[in-house]
Symmetry: C3
Amino acid sequence: MDYREVEVEGEYLARLETGSDWRAEIEALADRVGVDAGWFTAMGAVRDAEVWYYDQEGTEYRSVTFDEPLEVAACVGNVSLLDGERFAHTHAVFSRRSGQAVAGHLDSGTVFAGEVYLRAFETPLERERDEVTDLDLWL
Amino acid sequence: MDYREVEVEGEYLARLETGSDWRAEIEALADRVGVDAGWFTAMGAVRDAEVWYYDQEGTEYRSVTFDEPLEVAACVGNVSLLDGERFAHTHAVFSRRSGQAVAGHLDSGTVFAGEVYLRAFETPLERERDEVTDLDLWL
Amino acid sequence: MDYREVEVEGEYLARLETGSDWRAEIEALADRVGVDAGWFTAMGAVRDAEVWYYDQEGTEYRSVTFDEPLEVAACVGNVSLLDGERFAHTHAVFSRRSGQAVAGHLDSGTVFAGEVYLRAFETPLERERDEVTDLDLWL
């Protein structure tokens, strides 16, 4: 396992704007506060969501779209640099009206309401292609 | 997106009391340590749970009750002031014996065991009615 | 409710090693940085997972195994001492290719990729048998 101690340069609360994209809003927050590395948790609701599932054998993402309002019951992710751009690697668990939960790697979702806590680190995190998983990983 | 940098005034670990209400216990923790704004994550188990799903078109909450023991697989939320009272906005993901996950906005649930990490902020957060979503939002 | 204020002695980002065990890797991280108490959130993917559900009446864990690749959509837990050893109490929510979520107390799971944020506390946490729940709890 690879690890590093991180130094914090600030922490932020944000309310995501209704109608915007969930992940793009978190990246916009990172841009606004000039953060290249951070960790966040979040919750709220979306109008729809596209989640990805990684096919570990085929080494490619498969997409599933939920075209319905969903609660964002839990969202965990981090900000790092991917090809020189700030990228919010975002996983989330959603719930439907029945209470049923669906989840995955959140590619996009239209914000209904979103509350985010972001912890910004001084040390930048950079993603690079990992040969074992064929994913872009940091450290 | 609206955001603010927050200053921390303390951080706390709590063990929720068996038989009490999950959300009320987090609000009691906020009362005990005098915290008007904070962010928490938590996990544990409940004996039952009432979760809400927001009907974004009808702009009202719909309730679903799970009258069975559940693991609390993930819980994310925050403390803020709502009508002058401390309110723990709490989302959670639960699991049933089969492993199936259910989730939503946690209104109430009887604690079996609960472990909470709360980060308290100096800046108070106040919820006010948002016209677009008809929800009480901060910032 | 029992609680305590905690003092932080460091915070860490880790990338879990492909092929290792998810929970053992978090415990190895705690060992490497000499942490007896901490709180973490994490996300990633596993090749399989064994999750536990606590039978609150029978006071024993029931195991469910998912022998398939899964996204780790959310993972919340803490590090404490259990019988003198560092123990990562780990809950997690997973997603299947369909987007369906499953969840529970994570006993083991083979890491495909894992990203962890650990906050280490100075005060040690020790688990002891709780008579009411027949679980090992701290505080």
